[in-house]
């Protein structure tokens, strides 16, 4: 049975801007693709690049990283650090044979629900065009730091 490919995107949002933008999109009933699942961090600066690699290695087809606009980070300038990590990460992904287009950094203020919704839908379409990732999970995952122990326990 072949089903139409529905990409799964993990989105990292910061507590102060983009998570609130997502809230606002909801309150305003702005529609976007259901393929994204969000994780709330306090700040984009918390984003450890291995989170992104783990997401891709664990079945996500794309990852969206979001934060406050430059100059508007709640913790002054941690989003610049996120940006630096993002650019390094993109290069690393290319070297690993993963299309860098699967990972995207988006700035969204708490007022930009519509913008965030638009960016999500856009990324979903871009990743859909790239197709499923099917990363050789075993090899890569082994190279990454150990998974949380509790998750190793099957039913």
């Amino acid at each position: 049975m072949t089903e139409a490919f529905e990409p799964v995107i993990i989105g990292f949002t910061c507590n102060w801007c983009s998570y609130r933008a997502a809230d606002l999109a909801g309150t305003a009933r702005v529609k976007y693709a259901p393929n994204v699942r969000l994780i709330r961090l306090m700040c984009s600066g918390r984003l450890d690049p291995t989170f992104v690699l783990k997401a891709l290695a664990s079945g996500a087809d794309g990852v969206m990283i979001t934060g406050c606009h430059p100059g508007e980070c709640h913790y002054l300038e941690q989003n610049y650090k996120a940006m630096r990590r993002y650019h390094l990460l993109k290069r690393m992904l290319a070297q690993m044979g993963v299309e860098p287009g699967r990972v995207k950094l988006v700035w969204a203020s708490a007022a930009e629900g519509v913008r965030l919704a638009g960016e999500i839908t856009k990324l979903v379409e871009e990743v859909r065009a790239l197709g499923p990732l099917n990363w050789p999970t075993a090899g890569v995952a082994a190279a990454l730091p150990a998974k949380p122990a509790a998750l190793e326990v099957p039913a």
């Binding site: 997502a22 809230d23 259901p34 994780i39 664990s58 203020s109 039913a155």
Partner: protein
């Protein structure tokens, strides 16, 4: 798996249940997440109701739940509600996780099956994450009882007085030489037409005399350190060149100063002031300031007339900028608005056609203490206009400038129409797009103006020009407008045109927001914590906003916000301490290699390095929990309470449904 997890899926009436199969989600969790520790999964109409909360409390007590996951609305709305419910039943509140299936699922998706599948994934993420939560205690920090109010317009004045009257110290910092803000420039205020100075001056005087208010004018806040309860604020006091402890405010210096310059600020270029001056007669404080740039002594080295005549030797040419540090617990920002610069719309002729005025210029013309003693005259200073046009919505409700409505301009234009009729008897034309008069007594005021014989033309003015084409146009300004009520283009010759320019954020609103660590909307207005339920708080604890800085508003609304912000601050002060989220980083010294990578990353300098033991340590009093150091530490030595690697990664595994065996959705 030792945890006993309770799962609660909310219908939120039909808000969630209309798009997500909530019963299905609960059933699914009970079956497919049982091996992850879920012992009970319920759905309920309104989880946040007292009955919904009791459901959780009962399960905690009867089933001995050790973790709770609620799938409902945004944590920014009800996280506290459910945490409190857990605490009531004896479960540590931080062992409860609220996942959003309303804002992030039912309200934003249109396909029921896809929305339900996503709700399951989101819930599963919450279940995995909460397993890694640890019981925490909130951080209690004391609240310093002093408050900083920035901006001495009517909003800031109101806030300062309310707090000072309650008995605690207020520092009011104002950039201009006097408090009063825009309201001090007006003659009358709509819709009651009471005299602006008559209602404002007593409040300004109270501020000046209040034993609990330290007024700092001609000063600006340049730095803010610390956090709610314990801010350390740096204020830069510009030199007045007047010793305020000696000055009696007699005004002799101002009288004797031989040099006059155009006053671009208070008189918006229409009037002049001396080089040593008070912006207006009722200024508070009463001390003048010396404008160094224009002072003959500072330019040429001679003059000092003010010094010679000052009876108390209060003039001090050696005065220097002063840096003052204040300790405060809370901050209210009330820095107001700027007027839209109507030069940006060249076809309206401001600056090119002398008899085109801005609204603020017109306010000064009307003001009895203004440059024309309250006579409404044309630019030559003597001719009384026989016909006046007032253009609404200049720069507002216009995609090219500001898409928003400035909310006060219709009423202010009606006020102008009344004042022109009253003072000159001239014919008045108001050009409006829609008449917006939603406040108390506003619609009535509009009807009064209709009866006063003002001509109302519904249409957006295309152009104001001086090119006469038709008989009767010679020597006049011609307003070209489509009158949409009769469906015709009209050319209306007038003597004078007033542009009711909109309100816009202060030119430096973004920089000021940065100093205080708050955010602006796309337009530049400061963002409130919640647009309906929390209009004066910001997302930064301890920082409040009031008045036009939050968005265009009239005086009554600015006063209400000033008082509201004051009430919030007073509540905080009364409580003496505040409980903060215990989201903090900490370093495991046995794993720290002493590389010091984290030290420079911390925006709050919370990480110190112990050279003797060669390890770094986080000072929890300074750490704000952004997590940047956690992400950066190459040794994995830093963990973030409430946002640990385990929590994030396990939530991710849950979201990707890696916890199900076997996977089929």
């Amino acid at each position: 798996m030792t945890e006993k997890i309770g799962v609660y899926v909310c219908h939120c009436g039909t808000n969630i249940a209309g798009m997500v199969d909530v019963e299905g989600v609960a059933k699914w969790a009970a079956e497919r997440l049982a091996h992850r520790g879920v012992v009970i999964a319920r759905d309920y109409k309104f989880m946040c109701s007292s009955l919904g909360q009791e459901l959780i409390e009962k399960d905690i007590q009867e089933l001995g739940l050790t973790r709770v996951v609620v799938a409902a609305c945004s944590p920014h709305l009800h996280e506290q509600t459910f945490r409190t419910a857990c605490a009531r039943a004896g479960l540590n509140p931080y062992l409860c996780e609220l996942v959003s299936i309303r804002e992030q699922v039912s309200w934003v998706h249109t396909d029921k099956a896809a929305a339900t599948a996503k709700a399951k994934a989101v819930l599963s993420g919450g279940v995995e994450r909460v397993t890694h939560h640890a019981p925490l205690e909130p951080l209690r920090v004391p609240i310093h009882p002093a408050t900083l109010v920035v901006g001495g317009g009517i909003a800031g004045i109101q806030a300062a007085l309310e707090i000072a009257d309650s008995g605690t110290r207020v520092y009011l910092v104002e950039r201009e030489p006097s408090i009063g803000g825009h309201m001090a420039q007006f003659d009358k205020t709509f819709p009651t037409l009471d005299c602006s100075a008559c209602i404002l001056t007593p409040k300004m005087v109270s501020v000046g005399n209040h034993p609990n208010i330290t007024l700092m004018t001609y000063a600006e806040v340049t730095k803010v350190d610390g956090f709610v309860g314990n801010f350390e604020v740096t204020v830069t006091q510009k030199p007045r060149y007047v010793k305020v402890d000696l000055c009696t405010g007699c005004g002799v210096c101002e009288e004797k100063c031989p040099k006059k310059v155009v006053d671009d600020i208070f008189e918006v270029g229409l009037g002049k002031r001396k080089v040593i001056y008070r912006p207006f007669a009722q200024a508070v404080p009463k001390y003048p300031v010396l404008d160094r740039e224009n002072c003959t002594y500072f330019i040429k080295g001679t003059c000092k007339a003010c010094e010679k005549f000052c009876p108390t030797d209060a003039i001090d040419f050696e005065q220097k900028e002063e840096i003052i540090t204040l300790k405060v617990g809370n901050i209210i920002l009330a820095t107001g608005f700027d007027l839209f610069n109507a030069h940006r719309i060249p076809q309206y002729g401001l600056g090119r056609l002398p008899n085109v005025f801005t609204s603020l210029e017109f306010e000064r013309l009307c003001n009895a203490a203004g440059p024309t003693n309250g006579n409404v005259v044309m630019r030559d200073g003597t001719t009384v206009p026989k016909s006046v046009g007032i253009i609404h919505c200049v720069g507002s409700r216009d995609e090219n400038y500001h898409a928003y409505c400035s909310s006060i301009c219709c009423m202010q234009s009606l006020k102008f129409a009344h004042l022109v009729r009253e003072r000159t008897g001239a014919e008045v034309y108001n050009f409006y797009i829609d008449m917006r008069a939603p406040g108390k007594g506003y619609e009535e005021f509009y009807h009064r103006l209709l009866e006063e014989g003002v001509h109302f033309v519904r249409g957006k003015v295309a152009e104001v020009s001086a090119f006469a084409r038709l008989p009767g146009e010679e020597g006049h300004l011609i307003v070209q407008v489509e009158d949409t009520l009769i469906g015709k283009q009209r050319r209306i010759p007038l003597d004078m045109v007033v542009l009711s320019a909109g309100l816009e954020p202060r030119h430096d609103a973004k920089q000021v927001a940065k100093v205080f660590g708050i955010s602006c909307s796309a337009d530049g207005w400061y963002i409130e914590k919640h647009p309906k339920l929390d209009p004066v708080a910001t997302m930064t604890e301890g920082i409040y906003i009031a008045g036009a800085v939050q968005g265009p508003k009239d005086i009554p609304a600015s006063v209400a916000q000033g008082a509201a912000a004051a009430a919030r601050v007073m509540g905080r002060i009364q409580q003496k301490e505040i409980a903060l989220e215990p989201v903090r980083a900490s370093i495991d010294e046995t794993r720290c290699s002493g590389c010091r990578i984290c030290n420079a990353l911390c925006p709050f300098n919370a990480i110190l390095y112990h050279a003797d033991t060669a390890v770094s340590e986080v000072n929890p009093a300074l750490c704000q929990g952004c997590g940047t150091c956690v992400a950066a530490c190459p040794a994995g030595a830093i963990s973030g309470t409430g946002f640990s690697d385990e929590q994030v990664l396990s939530q991710m595994e849950g979201l990707l449904l890696r916890n199900l065996q076997p996977v089929e959705v």
